[in-house]
């Protein structure tokens, strides 16, 4: 029985760096054992990167994509005057740049905000996997569509929410995304970001973010201290933010 299983699935019991990717995808669709093995097999053993390291430069030619195994990554753009805008945060289980598969280079950089472990995935390995498992191709396509939905939600926040609602919305979003991969619960989550990182996500300054955090604390909605988000009143926080998780597409259905 063991031998037969090993022959059929040589990657059974393979190292767990794909675990959170699988949790993320299985929230939205079923993945069978053969598909799981195929997905595990294309991810290279993770490499460690320190915090504040640009791991992908804007414009560099790309033949592989980065799976975030541990830590937090940002998609970012630096302005001439030194300001930075982060257009998306990535949590464990996310591909940071699956879109590089079709785009071949990126219109932004990717930066570690914390020490990270990254499992690289060659584009050639993706092509081979898609041919054998078109359903996995559609699921990874889904994940790039999900990134686009997150971008749209951030656009709405930047365009039309005030600073308090904007920060509240981000904290609600991260709670959902982290809970899916087992890194949060409804009472909160670790978040090893600085106020400056949050400011760069929200188009604010860190001084202003500190002011907004104080307001959220005084309204007894959420506290962010010592790298930990503690949610006191999740319903109140989501209501203030006009947050709905619909753009995170949490429902499970054949894709």
């Amino acid at each position: 029985m063991m031998t037969a299983a090993a022959e059929r699935d040589p990657f059974a019991g393979a190292a767990p760096w794909a675990d959170r990717l699988l949790m993320k995808l299985r929230q939205r669709d079923d993945i069978d054992a053969e598909e799981e093995a195929a997905l595990r097999s294309i991810i290279e053993p993770p490499q460690a990167y320190p915090a504040r390291r640009v791991i992908i430069e804007e414009g560099e030619p790309l033949e592989r994509s980065a799976l975030l195994v541990e830590g937090l990554l940002a998609r970012f753009k630096d302005m001439r005057d030194g300001q930075q805008q982060i257009s998306e945060l990535h949590v464990a289980g996310d591909f940071a740049d699956l879109h590089s598969f079709t785009l071949k280079r990126l219109d932004h950089g990717i930066l570690t905000l914390t020490p990270c472990r990254i499992g690289w995935v060659g584009h050639d390995a993706l092509i081979a996997m898609f041919e054998r498992f078109p359903h996995l191709g559609r699921l990874l396509w889904f994940s790039t569509n999900l990134d686009a939905a997150i971008h749209r939600a951030w656009t709405v926040s930047l365009g039309r929410r005030d600073a308090v609602a904007r920060l509240a919305h981000l904290l609600c979003e991260l709670q959902v995304r982290l809970e899916i991969v087992g890194l949060a619960d409804p009472t909160g989550y670790p978040l090893a970001l600085t106020q400056n990182d949050l400011a760069n996500c929200l188009g604010l300054t860190s001084v202003h973010v500190n002011r907004v955090l104080r307001e959220l604390r005084e309204r007894e909605l959420v506290t962010f201290r010592g790298g930990h988000v503690t949610i006191a009143d999740r319903a109140g926080l989501c209501d203030l933010a006009e947050f709905s998780a619909d753009y995170l597409f949490l429902e499970k259905r054949p894709r």
Partner: protein, 84 residues
């Protein structure tokens, strides 16, 4: 690189900065304070309020006061009336 803390006092009360920022020098800290004030004022303006009665106090890691930046120093207010 020197580390600075930006404590804000304004109409909403006092907000202590427990995290701070690394910046090259005091001039950079001043610039950071100005951009912080403008960000806060921009926000309040959206709600129809313009409160210049605020202050940012910048301290070093030993808690010594390095700079005081009043809110009204961050904005030039013009009154020339061109409605003729």
């Amino acid at each position: 690189m020197p580390h600075f803390y930006f404590h804000v006092s304004n109409g909403t009360g006092e907000t202590r900065d427990e995290e701070g920022v690394d910046l090259p020098d005091v001039a950079a800290a001043h610039a950071q304070a100005l951009s912080g004030i403008r960000s806060i004022l921009r926000e309040e303006l959206g709600r129809g309020v313009l409160d210049f009665g605020g202050m940012i106090r910048v301290t070093d890691p030993q808690g010594r006061l390095v700079l005081e930046v009043p809110f009204d120093s961050a904005v030039e207010v013009r009154h020339d009336d061109r409605r003729r």
